[in-house]
């Protein structure tokens, strides 16, 4: 028998052994890794691209990749055969260099303008203690003496100590003559000592703020003593291969073993990000003692390995809205085994902790007079309207288009993404690319710009279909039908044309339509008109910037005063960060979750009508968009 080859697949660190000349796509699939093959291995779609960083292989030439790219080791897995031990990177799952839209400055400037509390008093923190040495007169146990020392600065109460800590206690207390550090977790009314070490070990105590999105996952590594960011990482949610939206994930989870699989995929995704962030920050994962997780209700169920099925079925009831604190070792997270993990509370099945935590970053709970609208344009779109006195919320299935999925040229807001686009009077495209790299595709903000520009420059009609007369000399043939050429092959990173098809545009219109119509329904339920809203806060994975004017032009956002809008980016992640910093925010989000009224759109017959009305540029009722009407009349 011939010698087998070892294939190491990054970033998963999965190693598989295969027979010589095995097809690489088959090998990756056998390892159950999420590589999509849209064309079924025909070598035409280019979706299965990998980068091979070491080892010999044989690849059939393909038009889907340029020579330049091939010379850098990129290859189509479906056209490649293993001839050696290989190291293979799946570029789609490498770290996404998504920058967050707001950071400390945002909170420093707005300390008093946000509903959350911005102060560094984390529920898990390191406490330095001087423990008195035992003597014949003072022969209390080590633990009692620690409790006594702790009682001086921290009013006493019940303190429990983890078994793993007890095992290290005798050594730690004596090593530096009683100078010890303990890691104390004060959560849910009880206090636990979750680690102990001599002060000379100078370990830092870190936390993790993490947003589990249906499409992407992002986290910040935070120093819990200062609140500073130490590292940030994000990537696709590996569950993507099991369905793009929450309903298809729930369906997927219903076969035996599948819930475990989804759970393992999300834990695997997070562990990979922990590894990245901790390596770049030079902090071992064992120094991470606390994680604040936010995500929609389904993602949290899968994260906690709970059956999400009843979220999907009438009357849409989840197992839990306000999950208890769990230990990282129970979930398999690569943190300190005793680390505590808390999830932000949800309002209901379709309005999750990502929303309650997002609201922390807005002034929605500060005012009783003004009315605020918060909208998270994620794969699962969620909206909240109200103020300190009342809150109403609803959710809609928007799809991942603005996060760059389901659109041929779409991608997350990471390096190589076109983030802004303009069309000039001569019909030429001008664009800006994240990190000034060669363009790979368009992120959400780029797609919003593109659609708006195509519309106001008369390249597409109000139904999003190409207008022959103007678009003719930009039309190219793709395997998905006609496409409009945005970047020519030689100028793009992959060496392929960057193109938008009518199908892509229809997808974008569906997404923006779902969000707008949900807004409109929610406001109607509250008896409000759009112009009665004082401020609108937008969250989502569009990228660094979202052009408000263009968002109005395509009918994603209502046509009201532009100054009322603010774009927050990933507010779920920021909210998780606030939760990490102080547990006071936990009571605030619990209160939000409790006092919010949830409107179920699935059972609301008018929603369908609102939705089909919004499936047009900017909307079937042009009168709802007077400023767009002016522009449109002018160009016509």
């Amino acid at each position: 028998m011939k010698k087998k080859h070892k294939v190491t697949i990054l970033p998963f660190d999965t190693i598989i052994e295969v027979q010589p000349r095995t097809n690489l796509l088959d090998a990756i699939n056998a390892a159950n890794l999420p590589l999509t093959a849209v064309c079924g291995g025909e070598g035409t779609c280019g979706e299965c691209v990998v980068q091979i960083t070491s080892g010999r292989y044989h690849s059939k030439p393909s038009a889907a990749l340029s020579d330049e790219i091939v010379s850098e080791g990129y290859a189509l897995a479906c056209q490649t055969f293993v001839e050696d031990d290989l190291t293979v990177v799946l570029p789609r799952f490498e770290e996404l260099s998504i920058r967050s839209v707001v950071d400390h400055e945002f909170f420093d400037e707005r300390r008093d303008l946000i509903s959350g509390i911005y102060e560094v008093d984390p529920p898990v923190q390191k406490i330095d203690l001087q423990v008195e040495a035992p003597s014949l007169e003072d022969n209390y146990s080590d633990l009692k003496r620690i409790e006594r020392a702790l009682g001086k600065s921290w009013p006493s109460g019940n303190i429990s100590c983890e078994y793993s800590v007890l095992k290290k206690m005798a050594y730690a207390v004596r090593k530096d003559h009683g100078k010890i550090s303990i890691v104390l977790a004060r959560l849910g009314g009880s206090r636990f000592i979750i680690d102990i070490f001599p002060q000379s070990e100078k370990k830092s105590v870190c936390g993790l703020a993490c947003d589990i999105g249906t499409s992407t996952v992002a986290l910040h590594l935070v120093d819990l003593s200062t609140g500073k960011f130490l590292g940030t990482a994000s990537s696709y949610n590996q569950q993507m291969k099991c369905g793009e939206d929450i309903i298809s994930r729930i369906n997927y989870s219903q076969k035996p073993g599948r819930l475990e699989e989804l759970h393992d995929l999300i834990i695997g995704t997070i562990n990979l990000l922990i590894k990245k962030a901790s390596e770049s920050a030079g902090v071992p994962p064992a120094d991470i003692y606390y994680a604040a997780i936010s995500g929609n209700t389904t993602m949290i169920h899968l994260f906690l390995n709970l059956n999400p099925n009843y979220i999907r079925e009438e009357p849409y009831v989840p197992t839990i809205n306000q999950p208890p604190v769990v230990r990282s070792q129970d979930l398999g997270l690569d943190l300190n085994p005793e680390a505590r993990v808390s999830c932000t509370p949800a309002v209901g099945s379709y309005v999750g902790g990502d929303i309650t935590s997002g609201l922390l970053c807005t002034p929605i709970l500060l005012d009783t007079e003004k009315v605020f609208l918060f909208l998270d344009a994620g794969t699962n779109g969620e909206l909240v309207v109200g103020n300190k006195e009342w809150l109403m919320t609803c959710a809609c299935s928007a799809g991942p288009a603005f996060e760059g999925s389901g659109i041929k040229c779409g991608m997350p807001a990471s390096e190589g993404a076109i983030e802004t686009i303009k069309i000039d009077d001569k019909g030429r495209f001008g664009y800006e690319v994240i990190n000034n790299a060669k363009p790979k595709g368009l992120c959400g903000s780029g797609l919003v710009d593109l659609l708006a520009e195509l519309f106001v420059h008369g390249f597409v009609d109000r139904n999003g279909k190409f207008i022959e007369r103007t678009a003719r000399n930009k039309i190219v043939q793709t395997e998905n039908g006609e496409g409009l050429l945005i970047v020519e092959g030689p100028k793009s990173f992959w060496g392929n044309d960057i193109v938008i098809t009518e199908k892509d545009i229809a997808n974008l219109i569906r997404t923006k339509g779902a969000i707008y119509s949900a807004c409109s329904m929610l406001l109607k339920s509250a008896g409000l008109k759009f112009h009665e809203i004082d401020s609108v806060y937008i969250a989502g994975g569009f990228g660094q910037h979202l052009d408000i004017e263009n968002s109005v032009r395509i009918g994603l956002l209502p046509d009201i005063e532009r100054a009322k809008f603010s774009y927050l980016g990933n507010s779920s992640l920021l909210g998780a960060y606030l939760m990490l910093l102080t547990d006071k925010n936990h009571s605030i989000v619990n209160k939000i979750a409790d006092q919010t009224t949830y409107i179920e759109l699935n059972t609301e017959p008018r929603y369908m009508n609102e939705f089909t009305g919004a499936l047009f540029l900017p909307h079937t009722e042009m009168d709802l968009f007077p400023s767009v009407k002016k522009v449109f009349d002018r160009i016509r």
């Binding site: 109000r462 139904n463 009508n609 089909t612 009305g613 499936l615 047009f616 079937t620 016509r636």
Partner: protein, 325 residues
């Protein structure tokens, strides 16, 4: 105390659409037919003027549907396969006010007749009757575009009602209608917004509003008629309230819809309690057509001669001496 009927007054009015063209207008029809023009809900004579009565068309085929009920064969016998002769019979014996030529046989999976053959059939029908003509197609975009282009061309000036375009396929056929002076049916699947969107798209390409007829894609009795009814009613209410993009007359197909339902075709021996097949189909069609009429339809394409007779009589009765055009 006298009872007063509450009255709704409307700001809008349904567009008047004229079908067919006489020699003076560049065609060869003996007369034209105008539909639309209502300023109130159907038959609400007390609320506003209805300038034109609803009209009944009958349909002939380039290829008779294999599933058509025997009752129809009894009436038409061998002319079922001779569209020119059948059209003549429909007009002279059954009082059809327009003739629809259904070109199903051009569908690639249903005979794949060529555009030229289809044009020939339309020409034949134009020659055999003098009422205005409707040309009814199918949903194979590529083929129907070819066929309708050809039909529009050979029937230039006749102001046929070209039936139909939909949101995903309207440009070619609409352009041909503009070029050769025909009127167009804008079909959308039972939804107020989708109907409006297609009308906007058409007018955005400068298609004249007075040449648009809407088909809200209705179902027959027992197959979603209630839903159809309320959508048509909403379209009409919005149109009368001043929404110009919904203020078009409506065409419906109670004949085609009813002819294919199981209840109209099932053998009497299998369902003795359902009564004779001879008249059952007519009843089914009458119930469907009457409901559509009340929800706002102005142009009905019907099949069963008995149903045509009944509906025409009902319209006459309801309108009485009003607007005798």
């Amino acid at each position: 105390m006298t009872f007063e009927i509450p009255r709704e007054t409307n700001t809008g009015k349904i567009v008047e659409v004229t079908l067919g063209a006489t020699a003076r207008e560049g065609g060869t029809r003996s007369h034209t037919v105008t539909i639309g023009g209502s300023a109130a809900l159907p038959f609400h004579f007390f609320e506003g003027n209805h300038s034109h009565r609803p009209v009944v068309a009958m349909e002939v085929f380039d290829k008779a549907h294999p599933k058509f009920p025997d009752a129809l064969r009894d009436y038409f016998g061998e002319v079922l396969d001779k569209p020119g002769d059948m059209a003549k019979k429909c007009v002279s014996e059954y009082g059809a006010e327009l003739i629809s030529v259904r070109l199903e046989g051009t569908h690639p999976e249903k005979g794949n007749k060529s555009a030229e053959e289809a044009a020939e059939i339309v020409k034949q029908v134009l020659g055999s009757v003098s009422v205005p003509i409707i040309v009814t197609g199918h949903s194979h975009f590529e083929k129907i575009n070819q066929v309708m282009k050809k039909v529009c061309e050979i029937a230039e000036g006749e102001n046929c009602l070209i039936n139909y375009v939909e949101t995903d396929n309207y440009k070619t056929i609409a352009a041909a209608c503009i070029a050769y002076n025909h009127t167009l049916v804008a079909q959308s699947p039972i939804d107020v917004n989708l109907a409006k969107q297609l009308n906007i798209l058409l007018t955005d390409m400068d298609f004249p509003a007075e040449r648009i007829v809407m088909d809200p894609l209705t179902g027959s009795l027992g197959y979603g008629l209630e839903y159809t009814y309320s959508i048509m009613e909403r379209i009409r209410i919005d149109g009368l309230a001043g929404d110009k993009m919904l203020a078009f007359p409506m065409l419906v197909n109670p004949g085609y819809e009813s002819a294919l339902v199981k209840e109209a075709r099932a053998e009497e021996s299998d369902y003795p309690e359902w009564g004779s097949t001879e008249i059952r189909g007519a009843y089914w069609e009458i119930a469907t057509a009457m409901s559509l009429l009340v929800s706002g339809a102005e142009l009905l394409i019907m099949y069963h001669p008995k149903a045509v007779e009944a509906i025409k009589a009902k319209i006459k009765e309801m309108y009485g001496s009003r607007n005798g055009d």
